[in-house]
Amino acid sequence: MNEFIPSITKTGSSDKRKKTTPKNEKKNRQQSPFFRQLGRQRSLLFMCLPFVVLVFVFNYLPLWGWLMAFQNYKPHLGVRHSEWVGLKHFKDLFSDKSFWLVLRNTLAMSSLKLVFGFLSAIILAILLNELHAKWFKRTVQTISYLPYFISWVVAANLVMTALSPEGGIINEVLMFLGIIDQPKLWLGTPRYFWWIIVFSDMWKNVGWNAIIYLSAMTAIDPELYEAANIDGAGRLKRIWHITLPGIRPVFTVLLIMNLGWILNAGFEHQLLLMNPIVREVAEVIDIFVLRYGINMGRYSFATAAGIFKSLVSIIMLVTADLVVQKLNGDEEVL
């Protein structure tokens, strides 16, 4: 849910600027030779050069490793001397039943997270927006985004404690209410796993995700509410006809950007909470890559799976980006 921020920033600032401003900049450049100007600005270049190199090494150089997917990679031979096998690993991957299972898990968990994440964040934002007492609103808000700042390791521990069959609060409450008559082993039951992931993700992120809608709501003209009030619209009607339309632009952009991230179901979360009994429903693509690549030493095969994920993600992200740009075409962002 949170990966959307960089992408929005990107469409918001740089792209627009790229297109609109630099006409006269170009002219300047033709007048004074490029290298002379660069020479004058060398301290600016030196300033960022170490980090340009660092990004090259850690972000671009690994792309070279993609070649591994087309080889029978042996670490002692390296990419240059390993045997080439063409698309063999991709064929193996697509005929591997467990890969499709993993793909299903990834899509299922990320879609569920998407739907519940969006719904919960919007509902929370609306409810917070309707609170009159400022101090109470601030308190709720501050508390609600606390879990966002703890690590998944800690969160997973809290989830496990809450779901424990030995006095975990979930079992206790459900037994008290008479919904179940004996403690359930939530984390050891495959059919609950997706929901545990979805709800714990919601617990951790809902407050944080609501912030962006709340700030969109503060931009709504209060006169609209007063006018609606005079016309006799009640609370729910005002929310339906004013608040919701008010956050629609933000909602649309976020939704599209998040669709671009659909293959990122998060993996720390699953990796930390899963156990052998639920592995079949818990494993997502990243864990699959980790297991085959690092634990089993099938480097080339795992890289092929990684490439599949990267390619699909890039295509989806670029598409999402184009759609957002098109939507924003008439209403200037900056």
Binding site: Q41, M47, S144, D286
Partner: protein, 307 residues
């Protein structure tokens, strides 16, 4: 006046709505805070007493014993040091990198501004993935090295964008007049730009620090064979792992006993160790959070809404 009207003429619908709203909000507060309070209570309770269950909001048999046992373990003590160190070094260098990249990219007259902006932006879309990344780290000799915590994630495009958009609100004339006075770019950055950027600096510093403190996967992947480089989060992950894996052998994961604690198993239980470690690993975030949370939010609105 309009507001007055709204309050004085509370319709039944308003009243029902507000009541439900307050109930839901209080429910949210409880759901959010309970797991924290509960785990703190368990960590402060006598371990043998905790087995009986029924610890909710406060310890039944108060003791600091759990903390004494956990903190006296050498690996925890050491891991805390590594966590603190990586947070300090990572934050300092992270701030530096963000400013050293964001400042040149904010200068409209910089000839490489456009290509470099694209160069950094692309990293948000492309990446080699886990396995190529792993082999890169290996061939760079960074396996089992402290720097693997710092270097790979040092340059964050998101932070660069946040800082750059903040710097671009500073009038160009500030930089121009400093240049006329003969100040070099580094001096302009340190004496003029950075002091004006304190709010955004605080924001990204907090994000980087929390990220460093919370990360465990790099330890898991790159330095797990070197105990001296273990972090608090990773130690906690190991304890968690033992608890989750024991599902396959028995339903009773309270009986999983971490190997190091085997000899103390009579006096301290895995549940208590896990609770105590969780508190230790969360405490720094919990302590600074109330004071600094407004900066976190500033960061989001700076980065997301203003662009």
């Amino acid at each position: 006046m309009a507001k007055q009207k709204r309050y004085s003429r509370k319709t039944p619908e308003d009243r029902i709505f507000d009541t439900i709203n307050y109930i839901l909000m209080i429910f949210l507060i409880i759901v959010t805070l309970y797991p924290f309070i509960n785990i703190i209570a368990v960590s402060l309770n006598d371990p043998m007493d905790s087995i009986k269950g029924g610890i909710y909001l406060k310890p039944r048999k108060f003791t600091l014993y759990n903390y004494r046992v956990v903190l006296s373990r050498k690996e925890i003590y050491n891991a805390t040091g590594v966590s603190v160190l990586r947070t300090l070094v990572g934050t300092a260098l992270g701030i530096l990198s963000s400013f050293f990249v964001a400042y040149p990219l904010s200068r409209k007259d910089f000839v490489l501004r456009k290509p470099l902006t694209i160069y950094f932006l692309l990293t948000m879309y492309v990446g080699g993935g886990l396995i190529p990344g792993y082999f890169l780290i290996r061939s760079l000799g960074l396996l089992n090295s402290f720097w693997v915590y710092i270097l790979p994630g040092l340059v964050s495009t998101f932070n660069i964008l946040v800082v750059r958009s903040y710097i671009s609100t500073i009038p160009d004339s500030f930089v121009e007049s400093a240049k006329i006075d003969g100040a070099g770019e580094f001096r302009i950055l340190f004496t003029i730009i950075m002091p004006l950027c304190i709010p955004v600096l605080a924001t990204i510093a907090l994000f980087i620090a929390v990220g460093q403190w919370n990360s465990w996967f790099d330890t898991y992947l790159y330095t797990s064979s070197k105990q001296e480089l273990s972090t608090l989060q990773f130690e906690l992950q190991k304890i968690l792992q033992e608890a989750t894996q024991s599902f396959s052998t028995s339903s009773d994961y309270g009986s999983a006993i971490s190997s190091g604690a085997a000899e103390r198993a009579k006096t301290i239980t895995p549940t208590s160790i896990r609770a105590t470690m969780t508190v230790v690993a969360t405490l720094p975030v919990l302590v600074v959070y109330p004071f600094l949370q407004k900066y976190f939010v500033t960061g989001l609105t700076l980065g997301g809404v203003k662009g």
